[in-house]
Structure formats: C-alpha cells, structure tokens
Assembly symmetry: C2
Homo-oligomer: 219 residues x 2
Amino acid sequence: MIRVAVVDDQELVRSGFVVLLGTSPDIEVVGEAGDGEEAWGLCRRTTPDVVLMDVRMPRMDGLEATRRIMADPRCARTHVLILTTFDEDELVHDALRAGASGFLLKDTRPARLLDAIAVVAAGDALLAPSVTRRLIEQFAALPSRPMPPTADGLTDREREVLVAVSRGSSNQEIADSLHMGYGTVKTHVSHLLTKLECRDRAQLVMYAYESGLLIPGSS
Amino acid sequence: MIRVAVVDDQELVRSGFVVLLGTSPDIEVVGEAGDGEEAWGLCRRTTPDVVLMDVRMPRMDGLEATRRIMADPRCARTHVLILTTFDEDELVHDALRAGASGFLLKDTRPARLLDAIAVVAAGDALLAPSVTRRLIEQFAALPSRPMPPTADGLTDREREVLVAVSRGSSNQEIADSLHMGYGTVKTHVSHLLTKLECRDRAQLVMYAYESGLLIPGSS
DNA sequence: TACCTCCTCTGTCTGCAGATAGAAGCGGAT
DNA sequence: ATCCGCTTCTATCTGCAGACAGAGGAGGTA
C-alpha cells in the first residue's frame, strides 16, 4: 500500500486527485494540504511515501515546501512528485534542485499518474516527456567527460600531479600525498608546463578546468 | 500510424518485439536489422518514425548507428529509442549524446514500451525510471548559474583581478591590461588571498571555477 | 643485449609571488 | 565636516616556483 499526500490550493483539483487515487487498490490517501506550510506539517505527522505537490500556492509555494520536506530527517522516506500546469525550464530546474523525484504536468493521463506514483514510491524518478526531452538536450550539450579527458601526451603520473596542482596543492604537499620527492614533483610540473604550453601552475589549473579534466563541483 | 524499425542482433528478441508491436493498432513494423550497419541502411531506405535500438551488436554497435542516423539528413524525422539490458551511467551518457530520444531497459513492461514509442514518435523523450533518477541527481549537483555568481565580500576591482588571475595572467600582465600599477595588482591579489582564504594564485584559480565565477568553455 | 620511455632524484640559479607596512586621493555616509 | 571603505601606489624582504642540466633504476620492446 502506497501512502500518498495531496497538496494543492484549489479544493476542486485536490478532491479530483483524491477520487482518482481512490480507484487504485494500492494507494491510500493519508492527507490533504492547501499550501506549503500545511504540506510540511502534514508530512511531518503522516510521513507519506509520496507527495503530489502543486507549485503555485499561497503562503509557501511547493518548491520551498519540497526543500523543507527533503531537509527534514522525519520525512526521510518521503518522495515529492511535482504536479503543475506550467512547463518552464526554470521551474523544472528549481524543482529538481529542491529534491523532487518527479515532475509531471497536470494534463497527464490518469493511468500514467498512478503509474508515476508507483515509480516514485519505489525510489526511482520520472519526468513529463517534454521535460525529459529538454533535460536531455541540456545534458547532451554539457562538456562530455570521456571525450576530452584530454588524452594529451601526458603520462599517468603527470596527470596525477596535474590534478593535485589544480587542487591548489604546493609542490611539497604533492610530494607528500603522492609519495615522491620534492624534486620529482618539480620535474613533473616542469614537464606539464612544457607539454601543455603553460607558464605557471595557475595556468595549469585553468587548463585542467577548461579541458574538462576537472569539473567544478565534482571534487 | 507509427512506423517502427526493430534492431537487435538476437533473432528471438527481435521477433518478440515484432509480435508485441503487432498487438498495437497504431504501430507498423517497417523493418528489422541485426547490427548497426544494417540498421543505418534500413533507416535510410524506410525512414521509420521510431527505431528500437539494441546497444551490444556485432560489426557496429547501437550507439554508433544512432550517431550516424541522427547525422543523416535523410533520417531527419527518425527518433531512436535505446533498449538495453545494461543500466550503466556511461552507456546512458553516450546514448543521449549520440542523439537518442529515449533509454529503456529490456525489463520494461510491454504496455509501457508501447506508450514510450508513442511519446518518442511525438518528438518528446523518455527514460527508464532508474535512469531518470540518476540523471536528476547529476543534474541537481551541477553548479546552478544564478546562485553562486559569488557575491562574496569582494569589491568590483578585486573581482576583475580575480578573473584575470584565473586566466593565467601574471601580475605584470594584469597591471597592463587593467591599467594599474604592478604594486596595486599585488595589493589586490593579497586581499583576494586573505578574503578567500587561499594560499596562492593557483588556489584562486580553483576557487574561481568551483564557485561558478568562471565556467569552463565560457571564456 | 640494446634501446626507449617513464619515474625517480639531485643539484644550482633566477625571479616572480606574496607578506607586511605605510601613505594618499576619492567618494559616500553620518 | 568627518569618518570609512575602495583604490591607488611605494618599498622591503622571504621563499617557493620554475628553468636547466644531469643521472640512475624499472619496465617493455625489438
């Protein structure tokens, strides 16, 4: 049995969902809320498996409510499924960053919504097809990791040193962490400078990021 | 009527799909192929709306075939739906980059597969729930553009110097390009090092990228 | 065996980097 | 009118960075 909470500021929409969910034998509606504040409180009390969350609501919107729910240890097993009328990139991004497990439009077919609830309850995720398409486009446009892991003429050891340099380590620190002599580090660094046509380690750091060897955030 | 091509190197799997697709009144199977080479040729001849594409195949794999199909102007209206047994990040990334509109696992329920074909034929996209989850996680981990344009306690001038440093410029070069004295640059750099708690300019470069002040590729 | 590449280490030397302290003009805020 | 923060500049000093040259050991290949 999947325990579901329904959050929407419009009474009519809410009851529509409740009726729909009632047609599924696997789903139990454990509560309703009319704004983000109520939703947060409801989740803390009832710890549902899935929250059907509207975005535009008075007092506190669905995104902020999602953030709070995801940050609350008492709601650890709760997954949020965003349901909105508006299909905007900005909204999708914010929702996913807030920790939502799904993003569907309100014109989704009923059968698909029930399906989505099962998917989200299982810990997986699911997006509206149009959203998926745009997400993929953006994803494909990102610098690809495997392509330019710049297989330059660098040796393995040199690559290790380059990464260390790019983390801001001094030569002595690199020597310690990589278990080699101080002078050896300088040799490797010199080779890097020559091969990559850089003048100093600051340029090496730039190179590491621009080439895709290092990705911001992926430390 | 949605025109579909089925590509898989295993005869049995292929015929299974054909039978399944035959149960839908909206779908017409226009051809089959046993490897990437054949698939490419098939698509050029028959221009299907959707290609069900296996990945692991002899001669040419599904990813390379997808790349060629997407690059071929004669296949402009063709969408590729990847169907594989293996749920690996690397594979998903490559597939999406190759231009696939969908990525499903072979354990997908039949009804969902038929649904997916309709979605893909309509120009939208769709991923297996487990894939969606991981894609979202990775997406949410990306540095959000509007958030960290790091409005630290830096002055405008300091920010300019930081950018210059992060491009690998020496103090003298910065002095020239920003029209200030050599010593002034050093003053600003020192303030940057103090404020951002960095030890040297290499760490400043790393900071600039990790904070989102600089984005790889966006020079 | 000889050859080559990679990794290792040892030196010396030049120079920029960075710390630190002080000073002055300028603009906004009180 | 005064104070404060930003920007600008000067000056001295320590130290790591990087250039350059040389050399030995480990491993793979012809």
